[in-house]
Symmetry: C2
């Protein structure tokens, strides 16, 4: 039994957020601060023939105007991939802060710093740009065709890197010789993070040093990219959250769109702090999205429904710049092959440049796309075999220790239990294949999956932390990892208190500031608690050793006979509060400090989701009426926070399945550029969600914890699609299931 | 030869300070911040019978009013002594934030937080206080008498701790049997720091956590005192400089007067950030001063002028609260016995409560008082023996290795060289004892001394630092030590770059924030470069070892064959920039981090000052016309910064000798409560100052550096007094030498 792990302790950021006292990047105001506005391309593809900024510069109150002509000519990748891709791969650097070619509607053309946002906006309007409009391409399949416009010069048509491939066994042979075969396709949409706080940065360049308050979810990688762009040593670039971030979901792994470099360059030009806060429209049209694309899964099984062969093929729409395109397609392929025990697997994933905003990291990172088509194939196979979708899954899912295609061990799984619990709570046996008729029809669906607990060994993924005891025995934890709203500040404190044996009430955390914390790769890949927690454990072990050895030396005892729990050292007949020990040590010039340094292992987290939907066959409206999400997240360090993650993931999955999509007109102009035009699932759309935590401890994580941040997003869309199929008998191959598409299918 | 040590590199804070962009506590503005004003006692000693705050609270815009009745009843000591006094001594805790007895004119009675400073001021005027005025005592000799008013209840009349005493050999016997004896006395004034930025704090209490921007010169001890007062774990209290501090000179070792607790308590009451900035008058009358007092020195010598016996006796005016009273009297006694080789020494120092503002830490910390009377005795002895004051000093000064009364080794000295150089540059042999007559008379004087390089082993005195290489090989140094204007940020970066072998241009420093740096005792006791530098050296050694071992493993070489200098690793036939090595290591999840932890040793820094003065025998005005200050500060890491310290110390010494004094009326009300009424020596009063650096490397310090921050203040007053005596033939026993006193002496 633990003292703090497994308890739903109140969130440490709760007070600040509930009272409005918490500081976000949007709230940062520096003395003499200027305001930036960005001029964006109205064209999907064009060459800038000339830019005349003279009128803008002449406007009173304007302090600097930047274009491709007076900004650093440094190629970069705006995502963490910039610094995080593992050797021998190299990050694809295909972006300037400003270029003389614009590649999507919304691409940056110029920016202005002025005394007020209004003046900056007005000055943007005074910049005269002469464009040579170039032919554009928006669909990745079209972009691969010969003769299509080239977004960048690449060896393989519009493709930044060779296709991602895995081949184990002999898929082709096994598939052809399988008794049962299915071949399904899925078209997935552009989903947008739609996080509450728009991308933003406040930069203060001064005398060779740069400080940037930012909405980034990875301060250290952001610092590295900025240092490269600005031509500065990393040590002179400080990036920090102030400390709160209003949601992220992947949109700011690396740069917060280009808010940081734009603010930084303007600050250096104007010699004043510069605030660059994207408005909602900019945030929608000019920051990364989830990759849309075309997916296909082929699945072969024997007569008993035992899977023999599985292949995933996908073409993702990369958009204009690579961002995380390389990694997302890899995760999409690899993770969807890592759910079932299949002797012959293959995948082929391609990421293709087009003239739309970049696809990048978003909760699930390719896994929702891949899982959607795999789970569709499994359901199709069940139907073909006339098996229960639940049973065919239980028969084929991987067990712990089974070999798989991922480069880390399949170390634990409670997926079978998750499936059983989800099915039981949704009343699977009663509701599945129940009689459906009439205007409103109900159905239930099931989908399962697996996700990582960090990005290792796909990308650079490590952390270091400082742990330090104050002279009164209270504990200071310093980590570079942002808390982007998921509550990691609280859970990491729980881990630290438990690991050292502190009183929770005396633990404090500082986070997300590159100047004051050692390297951390960021808050993404469901890694924060798992990876940083492991690092804290390592530091706490060392710190505890120091404390107990010091005490033992004072007592003439042996350290191994002593314990430290809830702030009290006991053993060898003695007992002393940590508070007193530290005070005495302080007076003798002794401070207890430990550094945790580790590259985390990885651990699979498993999940089974069951959805019940109601389909209005007249209007085509689909409503999720009940949702069960069973998650093997290892040990739930703070169950309430885990439930929050699960509920949030389900909400995003409902949006993905039924509502959310960015569509563009024939010129590449997005229709959905704000909350009013982008159909986020809101509170009114939420069903009753039952979050079930199935604790299957993985030895690798802190107190057995595994990742959970992304996984609830992964299987939710296929579970809903399966429920719709159960309700109306139609298998839909395109998301989101808008009323129009539902009705089209019904006809 | 060093790459960076010994070079006058530009100060890192120069740009910020010259352009006005640097942020000081006075500049900090937080959202929704309230403003505090303090109601102070008009009486030197009184009991508060009642306080009625109802009218103040009813004033619109007032958010909180605090008095002794609703504030923490926690006794503390406002100085670092609170947490820094070494066992078995215990700090004297004799102060509340607000008490029901006021003990000097200016003592805190109540404070108000309101929407504007004006409202807070107005509300203070509405607080009704009923006092029972008590008899007061202002002079420490009177305070020791039976029947004098008791400031606190103490065993020995108005004395917080037993007298400080040292006895080596047998002073009494040796003195009596000495062929030549002198017995001199000196009365020293209350000198005030008069630093530019008044004491100030901005506190933000929120949900169990407290952040305080403060003018403190010791953020970690300040945090410890605040945690005790507020009843919070130290980890939840963050104290930081923002980062600049507008001078300190000892006035904010620990609390910045009471600005921090007043702001913190009001913030907790009002649930808003609170800014408490003392105005100039408050700063003068309600913060620590240099201890005034009465000193006596008895010196015995044989016929050749060889010293046989020396005794110092002193009674210091402690004022109303202990602050650093215990430690100052100890340093005063001990340091003044540690200049000359004397077989029989004794001292007796007493610190006595009175009803004036507290005496505390101030540049020199007792040493200027003690050195003044010892140097006066030495000059008197020279006169008696008809010896040259320079020669008698050269004959008697301690040599390295000589035993002395201090609890660390007398490890190095270039005092003899300092004396020779100072004498040569002032043209001693030509000007001393030259014929004087007429209205304006000139004279030269000499004084010598010794000071510490940190407070160990008198007080707790240690540091830890973090050193960390970024992925591009640039270096991050984190230290808790404030840069209070002396330029330590720059010199510590020089030490770090030199010690590791970095390029200076890639080094960054973060400092003075308790949340993000390990413990550091503060910027005082001339310790910053010496003590923190030693700590950096330790960390750099470890970091270099890590880097070279990593390189060696990659190269298949031996680490001991490799070198790192100016950012390049060389040896074993290889060569690689640190930048590239760190990039490769980063991609393999390797980060280089080191923690430096050390209790510094101590090292004496020596100095000889020679002054030439002009005395107007009609007006009594004394003008210093030429000044030579020769300092053995070990290695000068940044000579220009050392010269700045020396010049600043001399300016303060001139003020101490000739101009500065806080005097009070018979009710204890100070006359000198601002820059207009307190006669600081300004630019127009400065002579040509020749700062001579005599580099006598002490093996213990970083690259041989020793302390220099305080020492120029130590011998300057006696050098000037000696010059006045040389000019007019009068030995003055009271400072400052105001025209009135000069004329009185001439009569």
């Amino acid at each position: 039994m633990y003292n703090y792990v497994g308890k739903s302790l109140p969130r440490q950021d709760g007070y600040d957020k509930v009272t409005g006292a918490g500081v976000f990047t949007h709230d940062v105001r520096l003395p003499d601060m200027l305001h930036a506005k960005v001029l964006r391309s109205p064209h999907a593809h064009a060459r800038i023939l000339s830019i005349d900024t003279s009128e803008a510069l002449a406007l009173e109150g304007v302090r600097a105007v930047v274009t491709w002509e007076n900004s650093p000519r440094v190629l970069f990748n705006a995502s963490d991939a910039h610094t995080g891709t593992m050797p021998p791969n190299k990050p694809v650097l295909d972006q300037y802060v400003f270029d003389n070619v614009v590649r999507y509607v919304g691409d940056e053309v110029a920016a202005v710093a002025a005394l007020t946002p209004g003046l900056a906006e007005k000055a943007c309007g005074l910049i005269k740009v002469e464009y040579e409009v170039l032919p554009a391409v928006f669909d990745p399949l079209e972009a691969m065709e010969e003769g299509a416009p080239d977004v960048h010069k690449t060896e393989l048509k519009n493709t930044p890197v060779p296709p991602f491939q895995i081949a184990i066994g002999n898929f082709q042979e096994a598939y052809e010789s399988s008794e049962y075969k299915v071949d399904v396709s899925m078209k997935v949409p552009v989903q947008k993070h739609a996080q509450l706080e728009t991308n933003a940065a406040v930069a203060d360049y001064r005398d060779g040093r740069l400080t940037v308050y930012s909405t980034t979810q990875s301060v250290h990688p952001t610092k590295q990219i900025l240092a490269l762009i600005m031509g500065m040593p990393e040590s002179k670039v400080r990036v920090l959250n102030p400390p709160y971030v209003g949601g992220a979901f992947g949109v700011r792994c690396g740069l917060s769109a280009k808010a940081e470099p734009i603010a930084a360059i303007l600050s250096r030009m104007a010699n004043k702090p510069v605030r660059c806060v994207y408005d909602r429209e900019e945030d929608f049209i000019a920051s990364d999205s989830r990759h849309s694309g075309y997916l296909q899964a082929k699945l072969g099984a024997d007569k008993d429904g035992v899977f023999q062969a599985l292949e995933i093929r996908g073409v993702l729409n990369k958009g204009a710049y690579t961002s995380f395109g390389v990694e997302v397609v890899g995760v999409m392929c690899a993770m969807s092959l890592a759910i079932y025990r299949v002797p012959n697997v293959a995948c082929h994933g391609r990421t293709v440049y087009t003239n739309v905003q970049a696809g990048g990291a978003m909760r699930g990172f390719g896994n929702p796309q891949g899982t959607a088509v795999v789970e569709m194939a499994v359901d199709a196979m069940a139907k073909k075999l006339n098996m229960d979708p639940k049973e065919i899954r239980l028969k084929n899912i991987l067990e712990a220790g089974d070999p798989w295609c991922l480069p880390f061990m399949n170390s634990s799984t409670a997926l079978a239990e998750c499936i059983e619990k989800a099915a039981e709570r949704i009343k699977w046996s009663e509701k599945r294949n129940a009689f459906k008729a009439g205007k409103i029809r109900r159905g239930v669906g099931l989908a399962v999956g697996n996700h990582v607990s960090n990005a290792w060994p796909f990308c650079v993924d490590f952390d270091s932390v400082y742990l330090r005891l104050e002279a009164d025995g209270s504990l200071q934890l310093a980590t570079g990892v942002p808390d982007i709203g998921q509550g990691s500040g609280t859970t990491l404190m729980q881990v630290a208190a438990e690991a050292l044996g502190s009183e929770f009430e005396t633990v404090a955390i500082t986070f997300s500031d590159t100047e004051t914390t050692p390297f951390d790769v960021g808050s993404h890949a469901s890694r924060t608690l798992y990876a940083v927690g492991i690092c804290i454990l390592e530091a706490a072990k060392d710190l505890k050793r120091q404390v107990l050895e010091y005490t033992a030396a004072m007592w003439g005892a042996r350290a191994e006979d002593l314990t430290l729990e809830r702030g009290v050292i006991r053993g060898a007949g003695g007992e002393t509060p940590l508070r007193e020990l530290c005070r005495e040590a302080h007076l003798l010039s002794k401070e207890f400090i430990a550094v945790g340094r580790t590259t985390p292992p990885n651990a699979p987290s498993w999940h089974a989701h069951a959805a019940e939907v109601e389909v209005d066959t007249e209007t085509g409206m689909v409503r999720v009426v009940k949702y069960v999400a069973a998650h093997d997240c290892g040990t739930a360090v703070n169950p309430q926070i885990v439930e929050g993650q699960i509920e949030g993931g389900v909400a995003m999955g409902i949006g993905y399945a039924l509502r959310e999509e960015i569509v563009r007109d024939e010129e590449g102009v997005p229709y959905n550029n704000g909350y009013h035009k982008y159909m986020l699932a809101t509170a009114g759309d939420m069903p009753e969600i039952e979050a079930i935590i199935v604790e299957c401890s993985d030895g690798s994580g802190p107190f057995g914890a595994k990742g959970v941040g992304e996984s609830a997003m992964v299987p939710s869309a296929p579970a809903i699609l399966a429920a719709v199929e159960d309700a109306v008998g139609v298998r839909y191959g395109e998301m989101p299931l808008t009323p129009e598409r539902v009705l089209n299918g019904l006809r």
